[in-house]
């Protein structure tokens, strides 16, 4: 063990290295690591915020979906009801129309039958008159018995 001036050389070297390390080596390394730490921290925070936002949006969308489903069901129910009433209405109208047509037809038929009856009456009375006149040609004067014959024709 021989101690000599190497001691001082080493001491000065140590001081120089430490100074250099403190000035030029340590700060950039630590600064970069610190910045990364911050970046990771903020990234994690942002991720968490994004997650909660996503959850919120999901909830909202579900709410909207449920509301729209309700609305759709309501619309469908309304439409069904409306259709039912429309069918009901149409049925009523149709029945009325049918009744009217029936009545008209009945009236027409009655009229026709009346007319035909009258015609028949006239024809029968004409025939009767012919027959009677031909039978009674000799005894009955057409002119004198006109009133009686007219009454007869009317009763037929």
């Amino acid at each position: 063990m021989n101690i000599n001036a190497t001691l001082f050389g080493q001491m000065i070297m140590f001081a120089m290295f430490t100074w250099f390390c403190m000035k030029f080596v340590w700060p950039p390394l630590v600064a970069a690591m610190e910045e990364r730490k911050k970046r990771i921290e903020s990234g994690l925070l942002a991720a968490e915020r994004g997650l909660s936002e996503h959850k919120e949006a999901q909830q909202k969308s579900q709410e909207i979906l449920a509301a729209s489903k309700d609305q759709a069901a309501e619309i469908i129910a309304n439409a069904g009801r409306q259709a039912a009433t429309m069918v009901e209405d149409a049925k009523g109208v149709a029945a009325e129309q049918a009744d009217k047509i029936k009545l008209n037809a009945k009236a027409q038929i009655e009229q026709e039958s009346k007319r035909v009856k009258n015609e028949l009456k006239e024809q029968v009375s004409g025939l009767v008159m012919q027959g009677v006149s031909s039978v009674l040609a000799k005894e009955v004067d057409a002119r004198t018995h006109q009133d009686m014959l007219g009454k007869l024709a009317q009763t037929l």
């Binding site: 190497t6 050389g9 080493q10 140590f14 290295f17 430490t18 390390c21 403190m22 630590v30 910045e35």
Partner: protein, 275 residues
């Protein structure tokens, strides 16, 4: 050993433990010592070129590599080597924030420098003992001790630097009176101040001495065992040096870690104002 068969075992060991010394010869001229006796005759004002050279190269390597990584730091996509450097920084930071309670921007870089520099210097011990000295011998350099921390000058140089910082920060934070009071009025109270001074003074001085001797002793012993193993024939040497090298990796890192931790603790003590 086999290549240096001209040396006896004793000479071989001595040769390996001799630093490359630059100093003043007795006749007044400056130069490199050619023998251990010549080196010894140079006295205090001599320099171990190998210790200074290797520690400088290793320290510069450490700083340049870390500086480069620090300059090219990518924040979002760190590469493999950057991760490695960052894990060292994290490790230092953890230790400093765990043991050091004051606020001083010097302490963490100081701990980093201590740890990485000492680990690098210790790692020189894992190179084959004859590798660099033989290469140097081919280049005409007679002596070369490759492990700076196996030279007490290196370890004492560092621990004295720490000692100066300890005293500086103690006086700065506690005041001169506070610092002397801490030495004089503890642990026995005011009336016993000579005893206190003796005890505390020894305690204070023991810190840098133990700091330096622990590191030096471990590395010196480790190197010595490598040298002794190298004396065995080559076909058995590897079976001893391999396990010792594997075990030595632990010591290399552990000694760096202990030195760093103690530096942090001593600095913390110098920053504690209430006692």
């Amino acid at each position: 050993m086999s290549t240096n068969s001209a040396l006896t075992s004793g000479e071989y060991i001595k040769h390996h433990l001799q630093n490359l010394t630059y100093g003043q010869f007795p006749d007044g001229e400056w130069g490199i010592a050619h023998s251990a006796a010549e080196a010894k005759a140079m006295g205090f004002w001599a320099f171990h070129l190998d210790t200074l050279g290797f520690s400088f190269v290793l320290g510069a390597l450490f700083l340049l590599v870390f500086r480069r990584v620090g300059k090219n730091m990518t924040i979002s996509t760190p590469s493999g080597f950057q991760n490695f450097i960052e894990s060292i920084i994290d490790f230092i930071n953890e230790n400093v924030s765990g043991s050091f309670n004051g606020k001083n921007p010097l302490i963490a870089p100081l701990a980093l420098t201590c740890f990485v520099w000492i680990v690098l210097m210790n790692t020189m011990d894992l190179l084959p003992v004859d590798l660099l000295p033989q290469i140097a011998a081919l280049a005409g350099v007679e002596y070369l001790k490759v492990v700076p921390t196996a030279d007490p000058n290196a370890t004492f140089g560092m621990s004295l630097g720490i000692f100066i910082l300890m005293i500086y920060y103690s006086i700065k934070n506690k005041g001169l009176g506070g610092f002397i009071g801490e030495l004089a009025f503890h642990p026995f109270g005011k009336m016993m101040f000579p005893v206190n001074l003796l005890l505390e003074g020894i305690g204070l001085l023991a810190r840098p001495v133990s700091l330096a001797l622990r590191l030096f002793g471990n590395m010196y012993a480790g190197e010595l065992i490598f040298i002794l193993i190298a004396l065995f024939p080559y076909w058995i040497g590897w079976s001893l040096s391999l396990p010792w090298a594997i075990f030595h990796i632990l010591i290399v890192l552990l000694q760096g870690f202990i030195f760093m931790t103690l530096v942090i603790v001593y600095m913390d003590m110098a920053h504690q104002t209430e006692h």
